[in-house]
């Protein structure tokens, strides 16, 4: 059957702001929003959007579907009525059509030192029990799609806010039994753009396509940050 897909088009070389354009696409039970965008691109090759794996692991194809952040490849037209509206991820600068500037997101990720800090050299692996792995495993499943930033009202108000994915990544390493870098990460988490910027709306966890639960990570980060604060009061 045919469905209407309204796409927020924006060409920075011509337009002052995005405008909706309607397209007709063929849709069956398996047609994803990404499939629909690929169909539209056949009609109008100038349509800009990112995609690659089409199996919800590369994190490229985040868009707003009827105002909710979604992965295009894991969102199906069957779940919507005859008309659906697709626009670029909210709270990011739109570069062209559905393509946003991801550099601020990457800068926030980098800021939390998202790597194992532990300079012991050893030719054998660390021991890490399944229970120790389970402490951070969920937070290691983030695919960096950015949906949680589009869901986060605080990031919308303050682009300097580290945001859900970056805080989750910091927490992923802080909770790793092999890591010794928590002290190096906490100043960033304690800062005004760190965990305390979160007002616990929780929408980030609702939209996460991989059930990473960034809101839980931020909450744990707040507990850690509060601990840091109390310790600092007793230091001379």
């Amino acid at each position: 059957m045919s469905k209407t897909i309204n796409i927020a088009r924006y060409n920075p070389e011509q337009d002052s702001q995005p405008q909706l354009q309607a397209f007709q696409v063929d849709s069956d039970h398996s047609t994803s929003v990404l499939d629909a965008l690929l169909q539209v691109q056949q009609q109008d090759p100038s349509l800009g959007f990112r995609w690659s794996c089409r199996m919800a692991i590369c994190g490229s194809c985040g868009v707003m579907v009827n105002g909710i952040p979604k992965l295009g490849c894991k969102t199906f037209l069957r779940d919507y009525p005859d008309e659906v509206t697709v626009s670029a991820l909210a709270h990011f600068v739109v570069e062209k059509d559905l393509i946003v500037d991801m550099q601020p997101f990457l800068a926030h990720l980098s800021a939390v030192k998202p790597y194992l800090i532990n300079d012991q050299q050893n030719a054998e692996p660390h021991r890490q029990t399944p229970a120790q792995l389970a402490k951070y495993q969920q937070f290691a499943n983030c695919i960096n799609c950015g949906l949680c930033y589009s869901a986060c009202p605080q990031f919308g108000l303050n682009p300097e806010f580290l945001g859900p994915a970056a805080i989750t990544l910091a927490q992923r390493y802080n909770l790793d039994s092999r890591d010794q870098g928590k002290a190096a990460r906490m100043p960033e988490l304690n800062s005004k753009n760190g965990v305390w910027g979160c007002t616990f709306v929780g929408f980030c966890s609702e939209v996460c396509p991989k059930k990473v639960d960034p809101a839980a990570a931020i909450n744990q980060g707040k507990v850690a940050s509060a601990g840091d604060f109390i310790i600092s009061m007793f230091k001379p």
């Binding site: 398996s30 090759p45 393509i99």
Partner: protein
């Protein structure tokens, strides 16, 4: 045109490219390492690898056993010195990933867990649940952030290599976000651009896997080796081709035809092992080429089922139980639910073979060096000689680590002593490319990238599929020639600068057409059957070591056509023998008793 200078350029931000960049930065922190990728590194297709990475780990395993499995799996077309180096260095590379934070799955005592994989006689595949490639890629990407020497050029698309008198001088790239052409000079360039699966219609690969690096090297006269060997993964989802990992079978999943019969026993892989008690190198743990061929045979016999117009067989995981599936194969459960609406704990998954991996690629020596001085290649885009005619699952993730490190270190050593050529030496080449791209634009064109690409991918599927014959391949080649002619007339009708995906797809299609031709011509020239290259023509259905124990080399001629020549295979310690799996292969160590019938 913007002009930049770096010491080393890495093209491609997947596992191989990131590993190479880190190795180069560690080898000499004073070097400037540019990491160019047409997508953000964590989007690279390494991300979609699921099952695991192989290295000899258990006490009862040995380097000799991994070597034998790999050489036999390759149908004796692997470079045996390369395999020796690989098996000897895989373990330390997986440990290195562990030391960088990769969340490998563990045993209760905290040691790294290994799982069974097809064609491997002992459990030696490290895994991070069923998202191993994802975790390797993100671990490498995040680790790369520690190295200030690595400067990323995200969403830069390389259009040409700069070469001066058979020596690399840098690359020309389009900054996708602005549309500007950038000339980057460098003393060494490492191609790590991945495979070319997208020249086929049904495949497990992401949209970005378009063979760019292979074509870049090929256009400068570097040979592409063993291009006829294209791996069909036996278990992709019907239609989309989305990958359902071999680890499903390593964990004990079984394959059934439409009658619920475990058909693999009819194709030299039996006797049947009990459901849920997989045995290495038997039945579902046979190698990928044999399993995909068995599917084709079943289809000929009318024993496959239909799923929305696609011929399928079934992957049954029900006997593994919900809890085991949730801990070992959570991503598979998610994919099956989302894309075929099936809960693997309660229903079998419809699957069929889909193109997965290009065994062949840019010819390199054991140091990842190509025939152009200073140009290296690594990972799926390269042919260092590890996989021969058929790759074993879980060897390629280890490959990109082992040889990514080699490539990075070799490039660093070279960059420390080499000098940049003068800018004037590449001025003409840069100007030609600039003019070429400038002339691609027009207000209108009757033809489209989409139309040509669809015909290309369908022709490859028909002519160069799981089984091939002369007539089919010749017809495929005719189509490719016609499409090349059409491509020369094709214009880019979107004249915008910012994120012009029409232009990028246009250039990718050109790369794909070149790579497809090398696949088809190499396949035509190999008039025997070996590994993933199976012919139906009379007299060609068997392996023929007298004439074809040799690599094919596809070399571009000045007229733009491909010439095929041959290169001897390096055999060090394992002379060619018949390849056996199932009971027939039980003369090899580790297979033990033949397993009881169900």
């Amino acid at each position: 045109m913007q002009q930049l200078q770096q010491d080393i350029i890495v093209v491609g931000g997947g596992g191989a490219g990131l590993r190479a960049a880190i190795a180069a930065a560690e080898a000499s922190p004073g070097l400037q390492v540019a990491l160019l990728s047409k997508v953000y590194p964590m989007r690279s297709h390494t991300v979609a690898a699921e099952g695991g990475a192989a290295a000899v780990t258990l006490d009862e395993d040995s380097l000799a056993a991994h070597f034998q499995d790999t050489v036999s799996g390759s149908d004796w077309l692997a470079e045996q010195d390369v395999v020796e180096y690989f098996v000897a260095h895989a373990y330390q590379e997986l440990v290195q990933l562990e030391r960088w934070g990769c969340p490998w799955s563990r045993k209760t005592d905290g040691k790294v867990q290994v799982r069974r994989f097809g064609g491997m006689k002992t459990e030696r595949t490290w895994f991070a649940a069923d998202k191993t490639g994802f975790h390797i890629l993100h671990t490498l990407f995040q680790t790369s952030l520690r190295y200030p020497a690595i400067k990323r050029f995200d969403e830069y698309f390389v259009v040409d290599l700069l070469v001066v008198e058979q020596q690399i001088a840098g690359v020309l790239a389009i900054d996708f976000s602005s549309g500007k052409l950038v000339q980057i000079m460098a003393k060494a360039v490492i191609l790590a651009t991945g495979g070319a699966g997208r020249v086929f219609h049904y495949n497990t690969n992401g949209g970005i896997v378009t063979g760019d690096g292979m074509a870049l090297a090929y256009r400068h006269g570097v040979a592409l080796r063993d291009m006829e060997f294209v791996q069909y993964h036996p278990t992709g989802l019907p239609g989309s081709g989305i990958l359902i990992t071999e680890a499903c079978r390593g964990e004990g999943g079984i394959l059934l035809n439409k009658d619920g019969y475990r058909y693999l026993q009819d194709y030299g892989l039996g006797p049947v092992t009990p459901a849920g008690q997989p045995q290495n190198k038997y039945m579902e743990l046979g190698p990928r080429d044999k399993l995909s061929q068995a599917f084709w045979q079943q289809q000929q016999l009318g024993l496959t089922a239909d799923y929305q117009g696609h011929a399928v067989v079934y992957l049954d995981l029900r006997h593994l139980g919900k809890a085991h599936l949730a801990s070992r194969l959570p991503f598979i459960c998610e994919l099956a639910k989302a894309y075929v609406n099936i809960d693997p704990a309660t229903a079998p998954i419809p699957i069929r073979p889909a193109v997965h991996y290009t065994m062949g690629g840019i010819l390199t020596d054991i140091n990842c060096q190509t025939s152009i001085a200073g140009l290296f290649a690594v990972g799926e885009c390269a042919s260092v000689g590890l996989h021969g005619a058929n790759r074993l699952g879980s060897n390629s993730l280890s490959e990109l680590l082992v040889f990514g490190k080699v490539a990075g270190e070799q490039a660093a050593a070279l960059a420390l002593q080499a000098n940049l050529p003068p800018l004037s030496a590449v001025a003409v080449q840069s100007e030609q490319q600039q003019n070429y791209i400038g002339n691609l634009f027009a207000d209108s064109c009757d033809d489209t990238v989409h139309a040509i690409r669809t015909e290309l991918t369908l022709a490859m599927e028909q002519g160069c599929g799981i089984y091939r014959d002369n007539a089919g391949m010749q017809s495929c080649l005719d189509t490719l020639q016609a499409l090349k002619t059409r491509y020369q007339q094709l214009k880019v009708t979107d004249n915008s600068k910012v994120y012009n995906s029409t232009l990028l797809q246009h250039l990718e299609l050109g790369f794909g057409l070149d790579v497809a031709e090398t696949i088809c011509r190499s396949a035509l020239a190999r008039t025997e059957s070996r590994g993933a290259h199976q012919r139906l023509d009379e007299g060609m259905t068997k392996r023929n070591d007298n004439d074809f124990l040799t690599h094919s080399l596809a070399i571009r001629q000045p007229d733009g056509n491909t010439m095929i020549s041959w290169q001897p295979v390096k055999i060090t310690s394992l002379p060619p023998a018949e390849r056996h799996y199932g009971a027939k292969g039980s003369g090899l160590a580790g297979s033990g008793s033949a397993g009881s019938n169900v």
